[in-house]
């Protein structure tokens, strides 16, 4: 009961703070807009980045294998370096490997029924297991064993295949291809090309390749405890094995640190933070200055320093949370609208984006209120008398 009474008592003081803040509508609006704008920019920037990173790892996510074997020089799925067949045999011979299958992943140019050409990503799955196959939404998976069979992925790029039906034909390096089904995947690719699934053998038969043909070896370990041993054994033969998460992180690090993309996004996020801090800090400071004598009067009447502190912190926190909500809402709306018009728009709001923006907003509110707190705490109530 005592705690409830105490909370209720503080509520009155915070209610005064709330009214002082919100009743000054132009200032309050300026504060909210400043923070919302900063949050909008920060969330937008980091969401685009998250979207790009998600797309960059789409093949890894969609295939879903737990361990990926590759050449050590591989940076992303797109720039794979083909491995010789003996690597597959070597991997299969390692203790702890339940099974290992080859995967082909590469680009090709298909000639559509209209006669136009379209770049596509072709994924070739192991015939025996079809390990890593996508979830079919139309058609039968066993039809993939039929002659010239391909599965088209219904993602944001699907329309570029000119809305094929089951049975639709296309031409790939003078080979006939037939769509036997449609699949859905977790994530669309980064490069704006439609994806076709087929068998590994058909892929390397249709698409001219170098002497070696295995893009990746997908490994299913007997248990999680075996992964480290498998990685060590593969390292001994001059290749690397990475867990799915490790490979996704590697791709993310590549885009972040070796393409300039991460740096640019970081710069934009910092600029957004500075813009938000400048607008809201300046407005909050002006708000405090304009109300300084009123805070002085409160102090003269008998308000304690901690009560004034609580009022300012509440005002800063309230404004920050309102701005944060509005900024996130606006960003979500914009991304949703953009995706309606541009299905390939790579942006995704993640908890990490929201967390980063939240931390930034807390810092903005903290710095803004610190400036105000200093001004208010140093008020001499005597100044209120002197006018």
């Amino acid at each position: 009961m005592k705690v409830v009474r105490s909370v209720k008592a503080w509520l009155g003081i915070l209610r005064i703070a709330y009214k002082l803040l919100t009743n000054d509508r132009p200032k309050f609006a300026a504060l909210i807009v400043g923070i919302a704008f900063a949050v909008f920019l920060m969330v937008q920037m980091t969401s685009i980045f998250a979207g790009i990173l998600g797309r960059a790892s789409s093949t890894v996510t969609n295939i879903g294998a737990r361990v990926w074997v590759m050449d050590p020089a591989v940076k992303t799925v797109a720039n794979n370096i083909p491995m010789p067949d003996y690597v597959l045999d070597a991997v299969r011979s390692i203790d702890g490997v339940k099974f290992a299958v080859p995967l082909y992943s590469g680009g090709a140019l298909v000639r559509l029924q209209s006669g136009s050409y379209q770049a596509v990503t072709v994924v070739g799955l192991d015939e025996g297991s079809l390990y890593g196959r996508p979830e079919l939404v139309e058609g039968k998976i066993e039809d993939l064993y039929a002659e010239n069979a391909f599965i088209a992925v219904r993602d944001a790029e699907f329309s570029k295949l000119e809305k094929p039906q089951i049975g639709s034909e296309f031409e790939l390096n003078d080979h006939r291809g037939v769509i036997i089904g449609f699949a859905k995947v977790t994530s669309a690719g980064l490069f704006g090309t439609p994806t076709l699934y087929t068998t590994y053998k058909r892929a390397i038969q249709y698409i001219p390749s170098s002497r070696y043909t295995i893009s990746f070896i997908l490994v299913e370990p007997k248990s999680n405890a075996d992964i480290q041993y498998i990685q060590e054994q593969i390292r001994r033969i001059g290749y690397i094995a990475m867990t799915r998460e490790g490979f996704v992180s590697k791709i993310a690090r590549y885009y972040m640190f070796q393409t300039g993309l991460g740096t640019n996004i970081l710069i934009m996020t910092v600029v957004s933070f500075i813009v938000g801090l400048s607008i809201s800090g300046q407005t909050f400071y002006t708000f405090i200055l304009e109300n300084r004598e009123k805070f002085g009067a409160l102090k003269a009447i008998g308000a304690k320093g901690r009560e004034l502190l609580a009022m300012i912190l509440f005002q800063a926190a309230f404004t920050a949370m309102m701005g944060y909500g509005l900024g996130v809402g606006l960003c979500s709306l914009l991304i949703a609208l953009a995706k309606l018009r541009l299905p390939n728009y790579a942006a995704s709001i993640t908890y990490i984006n929201l967390g980063i923006a939240f931390i930034m907003v807390v810092i903005i509110a903290g710095i803004s209120s610190c400036i105000g707190i200093r001004k208010v705490v140093n008020i001499e109530p005597f100044e209120t008398f002197r006018g």
Partner: protein, 234 residues
């Protein structure tokens, strides 16, 4: 006039240091009593406001002490002094210092809310005090929509809402025309002053001297004289 409400003993206050050190109040001692309306008058810069600030717990004296309700207020902690101001002193500032973004009722309720009273109860009490000062109908308006005299009354309602023993008025008629000023002081004398309350007014408005029970003259930081107020004619 019976019991002592405020006892100031040897109050000294200076501002600045070294060559710029200026004495605002020099060795001032006096007593103010319950049921009394005491005026502190004098020219600008004579130390009236500084003295008022020291006896109301706002400005710490450099020397001397102030006794209120058997307590030496300047030996209290900062929080205790804030509590003293909140519970024992009501202020009416020269510029009123009403919050333009709050309604008049909310303005009046501030001391009650600072005393941790429930919001609804505080507003209800504030409206009762607005009724006392004749502004019940103005409870939901913001101070900007009130005349100077009405704003002064709101400030008075705020000062008395906490039921303080001591009321401090700093130049209460400075922003008012002659008639309104007289009406306000008349109201203070008749409806605000009572046997359990002491009112101290700083002013240099000669038009309202007639309401004083006692007038304390200040000059160069010292009390240059004390006289009984002129009898007020109804």
């Amino acid at each position: 006039m019976t019991a002592t409400a405020v006892k100031a003993m040897g109050l000294v206050k200076w501002f600045g240091e070294g060559d710029v050190k200026t004495y605002a109040v020099r060795d001032v001692s006096f007593e103010a009593y319950f049921g009394e309306m005491l005026y502190i008058v004098g020219p600008s810069g004579s130390g009236k406001t500084t003295l008022l600030s020291m006896i109301s717990g706002i400005l710490r004296p450099d020397d001397g002490s102030v006794l209120v309700d058997n307590k030496m207020i300047w030996s209290l902690s900062n929080d205790q002094i804030a509590d003293f101001r909140l519970k024992s002193v009501g202020f009416v500032f020269q510029d009123y210092h009403l919050f333009p973004r709050l309604t008049t009722a909310e303005n009046v309720a501030i001391p009650l809310i600072l005393r941790r009273e429930n919001w609804d109860n505080a507003i209800k009490t504030a409206k009762e005090y607005l009724e006392i000062v004749g502004l019940k109908e103005r409870a939901e308006l913001t101070p900007r929509k009130l005349s100077g005299g009405e704003q002064q009354r709101v400030a008075i309602a705020r000062a008395i809402a906490g039921r303080p023993d001591i009321l401090i008025f700093d130049e209460p008629t400075a922003s008012l025309d002659g008639d309104t000023g007289r009406k306000i002081v008349d109201f203070i004398k008749k409806d605000v002053l009572n046997d359990r309350r002491c009112i101290i007014i700083v002013t240099h408005d000669g038009r309202i001297y007639e309401y004083a029970d006692r007038i304390m003259q200040m000059e160069d930081g010292r009390i240059s004289g004390t006289e009984q107020g002129a009898p007020h004619e109804e």
